[in-house]
């Protein structure tokens, strides 16, 4: 057990807890990644593996993480090193828990940089900086921000300024504590996110038809053509393993499982608090934001103004092309003039910022809790120290983003690492802790009985699903990515340096865990 002197903080209300948990899950991926994945992986057919993965991996992992977190929190542990040790009394357990400190910290740093771009574009929308730009103009506007290449478009200090402001807001929120900081933010940001998204969906779905010239032929597209494009099934996609993996991956990212953040939030629950129903409510809120709102915004809007061929090309260009180039172009063409363009842009990037910040404050929580509880630092002091650390390392993302610095962190920590942590925690909670203990833990204080079918799913299906996914990704992606196949020579040095920083963070955190446990042993000896 940790040696924190003060009693652990608790959530102020159940609604606040669910909104904070849902805020953690609802991120940029709900509005940018999901529509792309659906379009690229079979349209409506994508929904079949997507919902199967939601049932067999998403919901079980949600319960597992809430269960691991509350079980650890009851024993004074707010992060995975201590949580894993409460499940498995073995010296190695705490070191396996390093994943739940490493991933959220690494992802937090680059995620705040991406989040800072949504803040920047909210400001650019307000001042009308993107109004009247052509597609090429919009692309250079984004490129010069991301690669600092053209100071005549954006002064070089601009991306740094937005990044530092974003970090300051994030660490100011977490320094306020669980109830006054994170919970209050969730209670403001989540309703606003849903209101902004709902207004934009109504506007998009009521757009008039628009004539688009494709291959010399004029076709009139409406938002419903976009929904048709997104939800029309391509049955042959079901036979492709990559579609199933893409769907499982999307469920993984969208629910923010395998990160260490849900466990950290759940550690502030009491034994009488429900986790069974709360876990489902969190997952369902996230899915509504993704499937209903995220699925009805970008693609229908873009198909209306660019046609199906144009939308496919934009989707293939990536999430930034979708969110930061195509959407502002759509807003420029909305009926109603500059005021409507400004409002739509502010709501779109504002909702992305809210989606981002409610996730990034969650990422700061595990390491913050670990340092507070093990080294006796105050929350404010820890928040300032982590904020400065994130500002220094994050500056490298601002400088080297265009040369693959961020991509490396995103792949190893933000993609591959998530599956590793999910697999480790599933094995520990279900197999080592024991299926009966797991089942009992999930039903402590539960508002509903979880269908017994899920016990078998969590014991056998979820771990096998995760194992298959990890092996597949290792063979298909991790090995070629590790060997930097197809990467231009000019990026190699930056990419290796980026990996070096990640390894250094991992080693430093392993030493922190060692030091924390040595401190605990000394305190126990002195007592």
């Amino acid at each position: 057990m940790s040696d924190a002197a003060a009693p652990r903080e608790q959530w102020g209300s159940r609604i606040g807890l669910i909104l904070a948990m849902a805020g953690n899950a609802v991120g940029l991926g709900n509005f940018l990644r999901f529509p792309r994945q659906a379009v690229e992986n079979g349209g409506g057919t994508f929904m079949i593996p997507y919902f199967i993965a939601f049932l067999l991996v998403g919901i079980p992992l949600m319960w597992i993480e809430w269960g691991v977190g509350r079980h650890g929190g009851q024993r004074g542990e707010g992060s995975t090193p201590g949580m894993f040790e409460t499940l498995w009394k073995h010296p190695v357990a705490k070191y396996l828990g390093v994943l739940g400190l490493f991933m959220p910290l690494v992802v937090l740093i680059y995620y705040c940089y991406i989040e800072s771009e949504t803040l920047a574009w909210t400001f650019f929308s307000l001042v009308g900086a993107t109004q009247g730009l052509s597609q090429d103009g919009m692309r250079s506007f984004l490129a010069s921000y991301q690669d600092l290449s053209d100071p005549t478009v954006h002064a070089r200090w601009v991306p740094f300024a937005f990044f530092y402001v974003t970090l300051a807001v994030n660490f100011w929120v977490v320094s306020k504590g669980l109830v006054a900081g994170i919970e209050r933010l969730a209670k403001i940001a989540m309703p606003m996110l849903f209101v902004f998204a709902a207004i934009l969906v109504i506007r998009v779905l009521t757009l008039p038809g628009h004539e688009v010239i494709e291959n010399g032929v004029a076709t009139t597209y409406t938002p419903w053509s976009g929904l048709n494009f997104m939800f029309s099934p391509q049955w042959d996609a079901l036979a492709q393993p990559k579609v199933w993996l893409a769907a499982t991956g999307q469920i993984f990212f969208t629910l923010s499982v395998g990160m260490g953040t849900l466990q950290a939030y759940a550690s502030y629950l009491t034994r009488k608090d429900d986790i069974a129903l709360s876990g489902i409510a969190t997952a369902a809120t996230n899915e509504t934001a993704e499937v209903v709102l995220g699925g009805s915004l970008a693609i229908p809007a873009i198909v209306t103004f660019f046609g199906v061929t144009g939308a496919v090309a934009i989707a293939k260009g990536g999430s930034f092309d979708l969110g930061f180039i195509a959407m502002p172009l759509v807003f420029n063409q909305l009926p109603g003039g500059p005021l409507i363009t400004t409002l739509a842009g502010m709501m779109w990037f504002g909702l992305l910022f809210f989606a981002g910040i409610t996730s990034s404050v969650a990422m700061a929580t595990p390491l913050l809790g670990f340092i507070e509880e093990n080294f006796g630092w105050t929350r404010k002091k820890t928040a300032v120290a982590l904020g400065v650390f994130a500002a220094v390392l994050g500056s490298l993302h601002v400088i080297y983003n265009a040369r693959g610095f961020l991509d490396e962190w995103d792949y190893w920590a933000g993609t591959f690492g998530l599956v590793v942590l999910a697999l480790v925690e599933t094995i520990l909670f279900v197999w080592v802790f024991g299926p009966e203990n797991m089942w009992r833990e999930l039903h402590e204080g539960a508002s509903i009985r979880i269908p017994r079918f899920f016990k078998a799913v969590m014991t056998y299906v979820t771990p096998v699903f995760l194992l298959v996914m990890m092996v597949w990704w290792t063979v298909q992606e991790a090995v070629p990515t590790l060997l930097m196949e197809g990467r231009p020579e000019s990026e190699l040095a930056v990419r290796w340096a980026s990996r070096g920083f990640m390894v250094a963070i991992l080693i430093a955190q392993l030493f922190l865990i060692k030091a924390a446990w040595a401190r605990r042993a000394r305190r126990k000896g002195a007592a």
Binding site: G12, M47, N228, M230, S232, A284, T288, V291
Partner: protein, 44 residues
């Protein structure tokens, strides 16, 4: 929109909206006392 697209979209939307409505209604019904408004006239 094609019929199959409408069916897929309706099923997807109904599924997630239904799950959210069910879970939130259960949640609000079983909310602990600190989530409920105090009786009228209660001094805060």
């Amino acid at each position: 929109m094609s019929t199959t697209a409408i069916i897929f979209m309706t099923l997807a939307w109904t599924g997630v909206l239904g799950l959210m409505a069910w879970s939130w209604s259960r949640l609000l019904r079983s909310a602990p006392p600190d989530d409920q408004l105090p009786p009228p006239g209660t001094s805060l």
